[in-house]
Symmetry: C2
Subunit: 335 residues, 2 copies
């Protein structure tokens, strides 16, 4: 590996000048600069990232805190992949790499909190997986640029990005209303998760706005998974007044609901219309296609990247970013 001193000697200049060529090109004489660049190209010089980080305390790396512990709920939501790709792409475009941090509680000394300091990470993005790990808060308080997905978090240089869960839920309910449904139930996400409570709130608000009364027995809590959707839908079908539509706070649960409805010998959308949330791949593949509230997954990743980079560059924490959702109408809600 060529070093800066070798390159400097080769060009007959000092290491300082070479360094300036790469970091502050405008202060160095154009001829010198070109010559250094040409020589660098020729010998394949690459500035050593560790040395640079050591000197500047900036690593050009952003950490991703992503709890993939299989015992936790939420680790495998299928759209994480798309968010991750959006995040990676947007960060790459801004010159940052993404470092996946382990979250193992067996070895706290290898915790991501420490990794952030050891590696001089410039910022952190956290994917909420329902994990109540206090280290997350600790990280947020630590003053590092920090963006959380789907979960409000307090901290000096902290913000979060989320979809408009309330608005999306209202869209869904309004759509069902416009399709002529008047007895609209919901299968909510687990209480205590941000998206879970917000989507439920949207449901409640929109019912009120439409002048529909809200029946307690028409609200059943699910777990975001298929089996939970099946179970919740079975309960709804046993309600005194059977609903003619159901807004389900997650697509996987919604597919479960479709299944429970079929199992009961009822037809979608004739007997019961179903609208989900998230627009996972599966939504377009089941029959009938699932009407759903689409999250802008790539946009979430990109917004998180933008926010974290802005804070790295010294900006104040931007306000929480709430991305709009889009209703995708498919067969499950339209006669």
């Amino acid at each position: 590996m060529a070093t800066i001193r070798e390159l400097a000697r080769l060009c007959g200049v000092s290491p300082a000048t070479v360094s300036r060529v790469f970091n502050n090109p405008e202060v160095v004489n154009a001829r010198t600069r070109d010559e250094v660049l040409r020589a660098a190209q020729q010998i394949g010089y690459q500035p050593n990232a560790s040395a640079r980080t050591l000197a500047t305390k900036k690593s050009s790396m952003v950490g991703l805190v992503w709890d993939t512990d299989h015992r936790r709920p939420g680790w495998r939501h299928p759209y994480f992949q798309e968010i991750l790709i959006g995040l990676k792409t947007a960060l790459s475009g801004r010159g940052y790499h993404l470092l996946l941090l382990a979250t193992s509680e067996e070895k706290p000394e290898e915790s991501y909190v420490h990794a952030v300091r050891r590696h001089n990470l410039d910022g952190v993005v956290m994917i909420d997986s329902g994990n109540r790990d206090p280290s997350l808060g600790y990280l947020a308080e630590s003053g590092i640029a920090c963006v959380s997905l789907d979960r409000p978090l307090e901290g000096p240089r902290t913000t979060y990005v989320t979809s408009d869960n309330v608005g999306g839920a209202r869209q869904a309910v309004r759509h069902l209303y416009e399709q002529g449904r008047r007895s609209i139930a919901t299968i909510s996400g687990p209480a205590g998760t941000g998206p879970g409570t917000d989507r439920l709130r949207g449901y409640v608000e929109e019912l009120a706005a439409l002048g529909l009364s809200q029946r307690p027995e028409h609200v059943v809590e699910g777990d975001f998974y298929l089996s939970g959707g099946v179970a919740a839908m079975r309960r709804l079908l046993r309600a005194p007044e059977q609903p003619d539509a159901v807004f389900v706070a997650g697509d996987e649960m919604a597919v479960g609901a479709l299944r429970a409805i079929a199992e009961a010998g009822l037809k979608v959308p004739e007997d019961i219309a179903v609208v989900g949330f998230d627009d996972i791949e599966l939504a377009g593949l089941v029959i009938p296609g699932l009407t759903t509230v689409a999250q802008d997954k790539a946009g979430i990743g990109a917004a998180a990247a933008e926010a974290v980079v802005a804070m790295i560059n010294g900006a104040d924490a931007p306000p929480p970013q709430v991305l709009p959702t889009t209703l995708v109408v498919r067969g499950s809600s339209r006669l």
Copy 2:
């Protein structure tokens, strides 16, 4: 941030001794060691990763080359997430972090090939996305520990991990045979992809082993996507002799096949049995459930981690690892 010299002064020892406490504990006196550890704990000392990397040329980081360019085929296979998680988990357990590398061709100077050198990455894992980028080969030749997924690759310290695509395909065909099917067609993956050709070979081999003749019009090439599956199945249904079973080389295509079959007014599995490959989440969610050849996704990630770490630790390139597949029988193939 506490440095090693501060900690050393605090304990009345030299920096060298502190360094040994963390890297070579057995050579330092037990009392000294305990005192240093206690003091380190107390002031929250964390060795600086960049300084360490600079001195040792080892970063404890493995790069992941993952081409997520949306214009390429293969960037979004839904089981990458599981492989990624398996990889990350296994690497974390061995003390390595995973660095996601950008693959942008607009800015070759930021290419992953350079990132590997700049960041002193200890090893690289590459996910094959059908990308024929020559840099991959360049990386493999460069002498870095390198593991590729699903694609054979030449290089001094290179190996690869893949599922037993031939064997899995044979399992699938044999299963169909055992279900009484005698006219077994296939929808293959794109020629030129490793899994595509291997699964086709398995199909051919097993037909021969079973003494079934192979009809050219019963082999149709797909693209691993749903729409390709639909199109391929339609062609199969127009064949002079309609098959009574189809082995489809990918689950997403298989779901497309299910759809084309339904569209033709035929029943699965009564008229045509279908077996897929991969066992993506969707396979368990469609109705009827899709019989499929399951890949051990977490195992693939773990095997890749193991191989790359072994090579990092100086081992010769281990032989390619071919992980067994499991036939998961669901409704699409069983009366």
